[in-house]
């Protein structure tokens, strides 16, 4: 097995090195990757989309379908994980523990970890909010915010126990919050269809500036909140009992 793996890796490595050697030098602004559609986006992006952060413009506007399906992929992953019999499903608060109580509470946590997580949690939360709120003029946005907030919820779940961390997401709203990414996208997509005649279209004229902003903000908030809840839920669901 090992010899086969080494031979395979060698063949793949040689192929890749030969391919990579033919690439134009990295960072050269006249390379083909920078002179076609990328240059067009940089030149016309702000006028076309009204978004100043061009990564967001590509993500939500030029390649909106891609991102729509991407949030559906994330949601589908959660559905698939929860559908497996070994997954730990979220319980209604106050419901009796199914077996053996809360595993995360039973794991001893070092006082150092406890202190550090408690100390940093508010700052991480502010960072997540800031990267969402300032995402249009600084590097950041919905997905980044979702990753930071999801990581925060996972850290809190590890230190304070699943049960207490789960209270961050109200049980009744959880089903809707998990699906907020795809739902927000679907709503905005159909609204765009109604307004412009194109699925996921954004009204282009100057008068619709506020509406366009509102649509983009809804998408970003949906991605951030939905993504964070899905990430935390994925982690909690994987807390399987041996």
């Amino acid at each position: 097995m090992r010899a086969f793996a080494l031979a395979l890796v060698l063949v793949v490595a040689l192929t890749l090195v030969v391919g990579v050697a033919a690439l134009p030098p990295h960072g050269d602004p006249s390379g083909p990757v920078h002179t076609h559609v990328g240059a067009h986006y940089i030149e016309h992006g702000v006028r076309d989309t009204g978004l100043r952060n061009l990564v967001t413009a590509v993500l939500l506007n030029y390649r909106g379908f891609d991102t729509f399906l991407e949030v559906i992929v994330l949601f589908t992953a959660l559905v698939a994980v929860l559908a497996l019999p070994s997954a730990t499903r979220p319980r209604r608060p106050g419901a009796p523990a199914d077996d053996g109580g809360d595993r995360a509470d039973a794991v001893p946590v070092s006082p150092v970890v406890f202190f550090v997580v408690r100390l940093l949690a508010p700052f991480i939360a502010v960072f997540a909010l800031a990267s969402l709120y300032r995402g249009h003029v600084t590097p950041g946005g919905g997905f980044q915010s979702a990753a930071i907030a999801g990581a925060l919820m996972i850290a809190l779940g590890l230190v304070f126990g699943r049960e207490r961390a789960a209270r961050l997401v109200p049980y009744g709203a959880r089903a809707w919050l998990q699906a907020l990414g795809p739902l927000g996208f679907a709503l905005v997509a159909f609204l765009g269809w109604r307004l412009t005649g194109v699925f996921l279209g954004f009204p282009a004229d100057e008068a619709a500036y506020a509406l366009r902003e509102a649509m983009v903000v809804s998408l970003e908030v949906g991605i951030a909140v939905g993504g964070a809840v899905v990430l935390a839920q994925l982690f909690m669901a994987l807390d399987v009992r041996a």
Binding site: G38, V58, A77, L231, L234
Partner: protein, 116 residues
């Protein structure tokens, strides 16, 4: 910086890819295979982001004070998509591995093959 005329950034991506591929093929522990897959994914993301870089480029955010050259926004958006898909794949794979462990008590491929 180059190595035998090839950009070192690209060489690093190839090395990372091959490390991941070796882990994926040679290891029999399913968790280690999954780690290998993640290392391979990371190398692809690094490669794409590297390809989007421009010498002395700024982040492509059009605010007061930003001036060309800008880095290419498309690889960034594509890698963002890729990361989300990688997270989804990892989560589902981990859940399946946990399921396998709950059923058969092992996650070693060679032991699983010998099961009746």
């Amino acid at each position: 910086m180059t190595l035998f005329g090839i950009d070192l950034d690209y060489v690093a991506c190839v090395v990372l890819f091959c490390v991941g591929l070796y882990m994926l093929v040679a290891k029999s522990n399913l968790i280690k295979k999954l780690l290998g897959l993640n290392v391979m994914e990371t190398s692809v993301f690094a490669f794409l982001v590297t390809a989007g870089m421009v010498e002395d480029g700024q982040e492509p955010i059009m605010v007061a004070g930003s001036a060309p050259p800008f880095t290419n926004p498309i690889p960034h958006a594509m890698v963002l998509t890729g990361i989300v898909v990688a997270v989804s794949v990892t989560a589902v794979a981990l859940a399946l591995i946990a399921q396998i462990h709950a059923h058969y008590g092992t996650i070693e491929v060679d032991e699983l093959k010998e099961l009746p």
